[in-house]
Subunit: 209 residues, 2 copies
DNA sequence: TCGATACCTGTCCAAAAGTACAATGTGCAG
DNA sequence: CTGCACATTGTACTTTTGGACAGGTATCGA
């Protein structure tokens, strides 16, 4: 398994060399030249120094090399992660991931897997249900909600106020509150913010609660 | 690494035993009992014999065990895959995957990765970009936030109340409010719910406003 | 040194959100 | 029929939020 690091910053190579002593390094994607005919390897792409607009193209170029690409970002973000993975990357991690972590990721990617930080992974999966037609209930807990409660919950999930909800459902604000109280109880959240997040599959703090 | 197979059909164990000679087997999720305190392992869940309605719950139950779950389906389908993965599964493969393939998947999942057949993976990535606004709507505006404001915004994004934020940042609730007012103004949202959603890249209604 | 900015806080107030207790009407399963 | 779950609304009250107005301090660049 070969490893090819692409980064303009030399100082980060320490960590990489610690993880993969025999890795090669290059400054630009263009530098890697023609596809090596030998065994498959992994391309590690540092995008920290790239302008956001260039990143997508860079990932594509790296992916064209034929090896799986792992993108390393200084400040991993959801939106960026999904976009770059869609450009062909098979991994997305923090630029400063520990050597051990890097080896872990290498193992995953090397075997056809797909890696990103756990919280992003979760979010990623949650998003999928939004675009995929599904008849079965997504979240079993949502089953406990009555149809009316579900309508209210969905409105909150989109940021609606009680007044707006009452107008949309043609009921009193008081009734909206009644439904909300029931929803909070059933879903185990304490207010509309947590409900909105929960409805979008985003985990919340809940200090002690 | 332990392997736990959950299947009602005995005839499939040949393949599994070939892949993981030392795996355990059970017929139902309920049979696996309490979480083993020992090392982490992988739960392989055969859902072929389950009614579609039960599958979701079964995956959740298996996931509750604490080990990563790989779902094995007789006829892998896109919609089902995404739904089950959303229930906590970290892998989704064909029931009749070759032993070598199974080991491959095991490696991936074991190291925190995520596995599904390449064609599904592709589809999955493509779909995800549809729901994630590629041009993060508020992202650029996040730059306008001062560091302190950003801290507050992030707390709200996780569902924290003003009191919690004030405690976390060791400032007065009054100050939290001051920051929030500035944030609302800068990001063009009207309350904490919309802020929380915006911070998570989730579009909001905003009736007329 | 003089703004400009960020950061922090106070009081006061109004609106929104959430809860408690109570009641009415409807539809459906046993 | 009868009980039960659901939907609806009312009054009244507490808590949380958000905003208006009015300050303080500290830092940093012109």
């Amino acid at each position: 398994m070969e490893h090819l690091f692409i980064t303009p910053a030399g100082k980060l190579r320490d960590r990489w060399e610690q993880a993969f002593p025999r890795g090669r390094a290059a400054v630009q994607v263009a530098d890697i030249g023609e596809a090596t005919s030998g065994p498959r390897g992994i391309v590690w792409l540092d995008i920290a120094a790239l302008a956001p607009a260039e990143r997508s193209a860079e990932v594509q170029a790296a992916a064209a090399f034929g090896w799986p690409v792992v993108v390393m970002a200084a400040t991993p973000g959801e939106s960026e992660a999904f976009q770059l993975l869609n450009q062909g990357a098979m991994g997305y991690c923090h630029l400063k991931a520990a050597p051990e972590q890097l080896r872990e990721i290498a193992l995953v990617v090397e075997h056809g897997g797909f890696w990103m930080p756990p919280e992003l992974m979760q979010r990623f999966l949650a998003l999928s249900t939004r675009v995929v037609p599904t008849e079965a209930p997504i979240d079993p807990e949502l089953n406990e909600l009555t149809s009316r409660e579900l309508m209210v919950a969905e409105q909150v999930a989109h940021g609606a106020s009680n007044r707006e909800i009452s107008e949309a459902l043609e009921i009193t604000e008081r009734t909206v509150k009644a439904h909300l109280s029931a929803i909070f109880e059933k879903l185990g959240v304490r207010d509309r913010v947590q409900l909105a997040l929960a409805m979008n599959n985003i985990p919340t703090y809940t200090t002690v609660n």
